[in-house]
């Protein structure tokens, strides 16, 4: 009994010592350290993998060319599992490590929202490649920037551009996932639809990881929509496509960047034909820099480039550019990023011209893809 107790206390002290010890080893050196926070394991690990691939490609290019003013960049990975609680922990870790001068991330909007107060307190500039939730800009208090459009923009673009001009449809049913991304998207789509005169015949919600969507779909289809808006991510989107076809729906489906994944076609099969989605990056439609990036990406990873990787690639590019001008200091980097405030002094990357407004949001072009003969192709 006593022995166990002593043993326990010893173990306890050891546990605590390891944690405290792990952080006290601040590595100094001739490198510029940048934190990258994304879910690298768990449910959404595949997204984190995209970020990793994009950032690594840029890292190899910068360091291959001799680094920034002779200093190499070093990346520190932080696995946040896309969970707000873990994001807070990763944020605290990055903020506490004085050698880290900026953070790329987080991937999920909810993770960014949870970690942002910590970054603001510590004065850490953050640039996210993927967090599209419009409210982050308010919480960021000037320390948050993003190299992606917000959900507001995507939804409006779908409602005003894609549906009336590309699909040429008037009646649309919305099937949205009950999460921050999809609700934001749905709301902005509805606002846009009102302006462009599209009739929304019904809006139903589903919960992530559901497999049976037939009750909601049955209800949506009774209103005879001409197109269905898959407002969510690709795993559920693929199943919805299959079940909608089984229930006899033959019209076009469309969605936003959440649908853009090869797994969408792999899971959904033939049912996914005639699906449209908006994406921030499309190799076919981008300039020579984008084409070259897509080629390098394929050579480095063996898979087709996706928009997350492209955004992450540009995020590191922007940071490197700013650091080269201002030096590796958190406050100066923030000021440098904030100074990119108009098209004239914007950063030209593979995803187009990037410049930030006062909330750190940026205007990005959107492209449209469609599924044709089991492949994603440009819709134009």
């Amino acid at each position: 009994m006593k022995k166990t107790k002593n043993f326990l206390i010893f173990g306890l002290v050891l546990c605590v010592a390891v944690i405290f010890g792990a952080t006290s080893t601040v590595m100094a050196g001739d490198t510029i350290r940048i934190g990258v926070a994304s879910p690298f394991t768990g449910d959404l690990a595949s997204y984190g993998d995209n970020i990793k691939a994009g950032v690594n490609l840029k890292l190899a290019e910068i360091n291959g060319a001799g680094g920034i003013n002779g200093k190499k960049i070093e990346l520190v990975w932080g696995d946040d599992l896309c969970a707000p609680k873990d994001a807070g922990t990763v944020g605290a870790k990055f903020a506490a490590d004085k050698s880290i001068v900026a953070v790329i991330g987080h991937l999920c909007s909810s993770a960014t929202l949870a970690a942002m107060p910590i970054y603001v307190r510590a004065g850490m500039p953050v640039i996210s490649p993927t967090s599209t939730n419009p409210t982050i800009g308010d919480v960021g208090k000037g320390w948050f920037f993003r190299n992606c459009y917000t959900d507001d923009f995507q939804g409006k673009y779908l409602a005003k551009e894609v549906v009336p001009n590309l699909l040429k449809k008037k009646k649309v049913a919305i099937f949205y996932e009950n999460n921050d991304y999809a609700i934001g998207l749905k709301d902005s789509f509805m606002a846009g639809a009102k302006e462009s005169g599209i009739e929304v015949t019904g809006a139903e919600a589903y919960v992530a990881k559901t497999t049976d969507f037939t009750p909601q779909l049955t209800k949506l289809l009774t209103a005879k929509p001409e197109a269905i808006f898959l407002c969510g991510y690709h795993p559920e989107g693929a199943l919805i496509a299959g079940q909608a076809r089984k229930l006899g729906f033959n019209g076009p489906l469309f969605g936003a960047d959440g649908i853009d994944n090869v797994d969408y076609i792999k899971i959904g099969g033939e049912a996914t034909e005639n699906t449209y989605c908006t994406v921030p990056f499309l190799a076919e439609a981008s300039g020579p820099a984008g084409q070259a990036f897509a080629k390098n990406f394929k050579a480095a990873t063996g898979r087709d480039v996706d928009w997350m990787s492209a955004n992450a690639y540009d995020c590191l590019g922007i940071l490197a550019d700013v650091i080269a001008k201002t030096g590796a200091d958190r406050k100066k980097i923030r000021d440098g990023l904030a100074a990119i405030n108009s098209e004239a002094n914007g950063y030209k990357g593979v995803t187009g011209m990037t410049y930030f407004n006062s909330k750190g949001d940026c205007a990005k072009p959107a492209f449209v893809k469609m599924v044709k003969d089991g492949k994603f192709v440009s819709a134009r």
Binding site: I19, S24, T41, A83, A95, S110, A114, D138, N178
Partner: protein, 349 residues
């Protein structure tokens, strides 16, 4: 009380006081980073949660699978009151406490007359309903969009002509968390040694014997459940003001499981053991986060380990690493449990 017991207690007491002093001066060390403090605060928060949950399985022998529901209720109570009414944190603590207790009574009163299994599953269903409510009632909770921008607590002495401090950085939270843990531990010890506590132990050790001694089972079980729920809500209220962001995802079943794992590991019914359980599991979780990728293992191994801990503990040390005699006798002896359990209960008095 035997002499040996006093000696043990004083020895344990010394260690405890030593640890407390160490913990109190920890932030003063220069090598302690904000990250370490962040983890320490997380540990303290889980200590409150584990101490609160401990009342139901540890003191009463009932399985509660929906503890996270009350934690969530407390967190959202705190978050919403702060955002909409700007209430002071010191006012929110008692409100969260009462709100948690209220839901504990509402859920406990009709269900605690049932057998333990039914109770376990009702609590589970309840916590899932809480998450659904938090997710779907967007007008109130902003649902999956989350609740950002909750103001941190502050100490306002301006009515005395004093200054007003707003919490910034991890250090004030650290001391606040310690204070809350100390109060919780104090309350737990007081309850344990009170009439209420003895009634609970009687129920845990032998319900039939307890009834025949004139203990109203339902009455005492509901009180236990309400107090447990209230502490869960208090931990939630702290969490909301500390993280300053809430989303319904934070209150999934996994959290209930984690807290349960802490008390099973530490020793059900043992206040000190439960706290050790919190320290071990939170640190283990952080250490595994660092180590697993280095070993090339997926992070799921972390959860696998937690699952295994539960199974192995139940098989070999069902009363935890720091067992208390009554629970140990009960969990091990099975059918012939009654005699030793009664004996220890008697020797305690």
């Amino acid at each position: 009380m035997g002499r040996l017991r006093i000696q043990q207690l004083s020895r344990g007491g010394k260690i405890r006081i030593g640890l407390l002093i160490l913990v109190l001066i920890l932030p003063l060390f220069p090598f302690i980073s904000d990250y370490a403090l962040h983890i320490a605060i997380l540990i303290f928060m889980y200590m409150i949660l584990a101490l609160g949950l401990n009342i139901v399985p540890g003191f009463n022998g009932l399985l509660d699978l929906g503890y996270v529901g009350f934690y969530g209720i407390g967190a959202y109570t705190s978050g919403l009151l702060t955002i909409h009414f700007g209430l002071s944190y010191w006012l929110i603590i008692p409100i969260a406490f009462l709100n948690g207790a209220l839901w504990g009574v509402l859920l406990g009163a009709p269900t605690l007359r049932l057998t333990g299994d039914y109770f376990a599953i009702v609590t589970f269903g309840f916590s899932e309903l809480v998450v659904l409510f938090l997710t779907n009632e967007i007008w109130l909770t902003r649902g999956p969009l989350g609740l950002p921008g909750i103001a941190p607590p502050s100490i306002d002495l301006s009515w005395l002509g004093g200054p007003k401090w707003e919490f910034a950085g991890e250090v004030p939270y650290y001391y606040l968390a310690i204070l809350m843990v100390l109060v919780t531990v104090f309350v737990m010890y007081r309850i344990q040694d009170s009439r209420l506590g003895r009634a609970w132990f009687a129920i845990r050790d032998d319900e039939i014997a307890a009834v025949s001694c004139g203990i109203n089972l339902l009455h005492y079980k509901v009180i236990a459940f309400a107090i447990s729920a209230a502490f869960g809500a208090v931990a939630g209220s702290f969490f909301a003001r500390w993280v300053t962001f809430l989303s319904p995802d934070m209150f999934k079943f996994w959290e209930s499981f984690l807290v349960l794992c802490m008390i099973v590991l530490g020793g059900m019914g043992n206040i000190w053991g439960v706290m050790v359980g919190a320290v071990v599991l939170v640190s283990l979780s952080e250490i595994l986060r660092e180590i697993l990728p280095l070993l090339g293992l997926p992070v799921e191994v972390r959860f696998l380990v937690f699952g295994l801990i539960m199974v192995i503990m139940m098989r070999f040390r069902p009363a935890g690493l720091m067992p208390i005699p009554a629970v140990a006798a009960k969990m091990k002896a099975g059918q012939v449990k009654r005699k030793p359990a009664v004996a220890t209960a008697g020797s305690k008095k």
